[in-house]
């Protein structure tokens, strides 16, 4: 009986099918392997532990099956809903969930960190009794705590966008605007400006901060080496403004005419 089964036509067909598929799979590795390497590298591995509890089994499978982008979008929309309700814990978890699902879009990192650093301190102040009642020290404490969370969050983003100027700028903004830490902010602006894709204003802000910290000579040197690299025809680059700054600094540093910058 077993013999009859083994000699049956359907079994033979099955063997042929499986063998052919394995051979095809082996043969196709030539084109698949290099392509897969590229595709794989574009898909950061999922930190399943961080999302499995928050999502159901079905959603997790969808994630693994290639619906990451759209699932992240859906959770981002959810984030917006809880954000509108000033629900701090929910918003914070939801923000982190979105980037855990799909860390590839800088948009999520940047906007998530803004919610954490800029909106949430206000929510906490409101909850503690409002602007008039809460003492400044407590307000300051809220700012520091939320900024720390946001900066930690943005640092995580470097794992996926190692030298993204936009994320450096975002961190710099938090140091500058929230923590009033000009020194650290300046470092981040400088490093952001080093990236070829950085917006032109990063370098200008860095120089401005140097000036603010009374490091005019440093600012002057920095701008002098910056100016030749700026495309003169691009309005965004504001080469003219930079030149103006250079001259202002020369005045402030009272440089003699023959040492002045001549473009």
């Amino acid at each position: 009986m077993t013999l009859a089964f083994f000699s049956s036509r359907s079994l033979r067909t099955g063997v042929v099918v499986v063998t052919s598929l394995v051979l095809a799979g082996l043969g196709l590795r030539v084109v698949e392997a290099p392509a897969w390497e590229v595709v794989r590298s574009r898909q950061p591995s999922l930190r399943l532990e961080s999302v499995k509890d928050a999502l159901g089994q079905g959603v997790t499978v969808g994630l693994l099956g290639g619906f990451r982008a759209i699932l992240a979008d859906l959770f981002w929309i959810r984030t917006n809903y809880v954000w509108e309700k000033y629900d701090l814990p929910a918003t914070q978890t939801s923000i982190k969930l979105v980037t855990a699902i799909d860390p590839r879009s800088p948009y999520f990192w940047l906007n998530g960190s803004r919610m954490i650093a800029y909106d949430m301190p206000n929510w906490r102040i409101d909850k503690a009794g409002g602007y008039d009642k809460v003492p400044d020290s407590v307000k300051r404490h809220f700012d520091e705590e939320q900024s720390a969370v946001a900066i930690r969050y943005l640092n995580e983003a470097f794992g996926f966008h190692p030298d993204s100027p936009m994320i450096r700028l975002e961190i710099a903004n938090i140091y500058l605007n929230r923590l009033k830490d000009t020194e650290t902010a300046a470092t981040y602006y400088r490093r952001a400006a080093e990236h070829p894709d950085a917006p032109y204003y990063a370098a200008r802000i860095y120089a401005e901060l140097l000036r603010k910290m009374n490091r005019n000579a440093e600012a002057y040197d920095y701008l002098k080496q910056l100016y030749p690299k700026l495309p003169k025809e691009d309005l965004q680059a504001s080469a003219q403004t930079v030149l103006g700054r250079i001259h202002e600094l020369e005045d402030e540093l009272s440089l003699p005419a023959d040492q002045r910058f001549k473009p």
Partner: protein, 280 residues
Amino acid sequence: MSAVSVPFSFSRLALIASNTFLEAVRQRLFNFLLLLAVGLVASAQFFRDFNFGSSELKFIADFGFGALVFFGSALTITTTAQLFFSEIENRTALTLLAKPIWRAEFVFGKFVGVFAVIGVFCALTIGLMMALLWHREGQLMTIDPEAFASGRIVRYGDLFIVGVLQWLKFGVLSSIVLLIATFSNSNLYTVVTGFFALVICHLQYLARDSWSNVDNLMLRVLVQVLGLIFPNFQLFNLGDEIGQGAALDPLLAGRVAVYAVVYIAVIGGLAVYSFRNREI
């Protein structure tokens, strides 16, 4: 009289394919596309409420691709099974195969017909998506010119190529379902097995990625073999970043296309082989 005096005929193949396509059309299969279109337009409208800025385009693209992949897979599996089994279950295959035609003409004719149906689906979905993106991008460019300082963000050419690759992927899926159908006895069984195959094809990379961690030798071999038997559908997952302006490497696209076409040929051939002796 020699056996080769009825040669394999592409015109008969085309005839069977066009009849299959016609069946899909006359069964109003494409009506559901209208729903899909309404859904896509509505979701695009919905995103406007959030002030996503230029990232709104990412959302439109993601949802478009999500719909394409999800509904495309479902459509591929069900129509392949349905259009194949309608011939068997309605016994029209009896009449057709009693004519002087090759079984290979029948199987590939069915495939080409289904592939055309899916092609129309892909073309309409991608076309609609492009139209939505183009329209909205134009609006956003006037609202926020700075974000579009260097022109349009979305690469429409790449979008089109990704659409074609998805279509090819559905072709592979369709040939898999057809292969299952040739030895299966029912539509339902074929659809269910087809969905399992789809899930395995999408997830086989997980097993392959972790196979080196498996200690048990038997299990290790098994995992390797599974990874070889099933095509890797994750390879076609190229659309995720198009909405954000990432470029598609033509060499990569070419490799993926070759991968799909070879699989279609191999699995289609196996479907013919398996169907050759099927008792009608």
